[in-house]
Symmetry: none
Subunit: 243 residues, 2 copies
């Protein structure tokens, strides 16, 4: 399905931006690049800055109009730094866009279209789009570099795809968790050690509550609880008998 998502760059001025955009999209599982009238392409700069994504650059499709680039697409999103006066449907938030891109991509090709570094997309090119999206940014300095804009929107699309696949990053395992009985034993042991050390001379219910909450947040695994019990035992051996 990610194969149905096409990154389209219109009249890119710097070939280096093509290379960086190729790298950005490939890190997010996208490999279909289309270039509309690139100023200088092919170019060593594009290949160099693509790093390990030079395959994406090499397989880029080059066409001479945006219309040709997107004619078979079921959705065309124009990435625009500023809202146009055209009443084109506009995504407030790129993650809303990303969700719909994934849905449409199950049906046919979807294009994310990026304009020129300085001038963005023309009004005529926006008319070839079905939706607009802008990346919410610093009102005082809100224009992202072209390949950065590709990275950000590709990132949101990839995330939407992972969610739709039901994929999440694998949890780093800390091993099995203790049950409540084991936790109670630990807290009882901790209380004995605190008492024997003289720390709990004044009965402070709040102290125990705080420590209880602290260890609850820590969510120790069985192994870690074992470690803590070992430490408590080592400390206990130096303390007077609990009263």
């Amino acid at each position: 399905m990610l194969d149905n998502i096409r990154i389209v760059l219109v009249q890119t001025f710097h070939p280096g931006n093509i290379g960086q955009a190729a790298r950005a999209m490939k890190t997010m599982g996208l490999t279909r690049l289309t270039l509309v009238n690139p100023r200088a392409f092919p170019d060593d700069e594009a290949t160099r800055l693509a790093a390990g994504a030079d395959d994406v650059v090499a397989s880029a499709r080059v066409v001479d109009s945006l219309e040709a680039a997107v004619s078979d697409c079921v959705q065309v999103i124009g990435a625009s730094a500023r809202l146009r006066s055209l009443p084109l449907p506009h995504y407030d938030e790129p993650d809303a866009m990303a969700g719909e891109v994934i849905e449409h991509a199950s049906q046919g090709p979807v294009a994310l279209v990026f304009g020129r570094e300085r001038f963005g997309l023309t009004n005529d090119e926006i008319r070839h789009c079905t939706h607009q999206v802008s990346i919410p940014a610093n009102p005082d300095y809100g224009v992202l570099n072209l390949s950065q804009a590709v990275q950000v929107l590709a990132y949101d699309v990839y995330r939407a795809w992972r969610r739709q696949q039901g994929r999440t990053a694998p949890q780093p395992g800390r091993g099995p968790l203790p049950d409540q009985a084991q936790l109670q034993h630990f807290h009882a042991h901790l209380e004995r050690v605190m008492g024997a050390s003289g720390f709990l001379n004044q009965p402070h219910a709040r102290t125990s509550e705080h420590l209880h909450a602290l260890f609850a947040r820590a969510q120790p695994s069985r192994k870690e609880l074992s470690l803590l019990r070992g430490l408590l035992s080592a400390l206990e051996s130096h303390l007077p008998e609990s009263r």
Copy 2:
């Protein structure tokens, strides 16, 4: 509050990446850049590629250790391309991280730390972090360019900030958080007590790492840290002198 969010780049090789990172962060409202032992800085390439974010480059703080860069921070997120074996709390999804960064940033400085282009962060540097985050990416080609990684995480942080601005009810607090220097003192104290108790007879780096991670997950408030220090002191009074 965005002023409390610090981008920290460790031993960046290409000054151009510093410039592009400055641009990326500024588009997302972040202006505090710290450089730990940059290979070549100041450098024309950094200024050139910063475009309109050259002010961020010019005001970058340069230090010679990660410890110095983050000692006053209440949270330190290490951005890592791959999961380490160290059991440091790990954010599965950068947007979960972003939400917590914004919460912590209301209390004190928060650092997002990025490593070297080729080698990332060392295990020792990861130990100066409270959390890890990795950017979910293409399993076949998943390493983002340094400034692209900065762009993506800054984007998520800015989005979390915008969402939070829409909220009215303040979060129930546990009180102010300790900074990294205070946490280091606590861990040093804990180590002394463990050593003096005989628990750390066999030097077990893993034990320290586990406890470090456990307390990182617990996120003790200053008050709780104080309580733990008090307990450690009470225990210490019964133990033989540390060797």
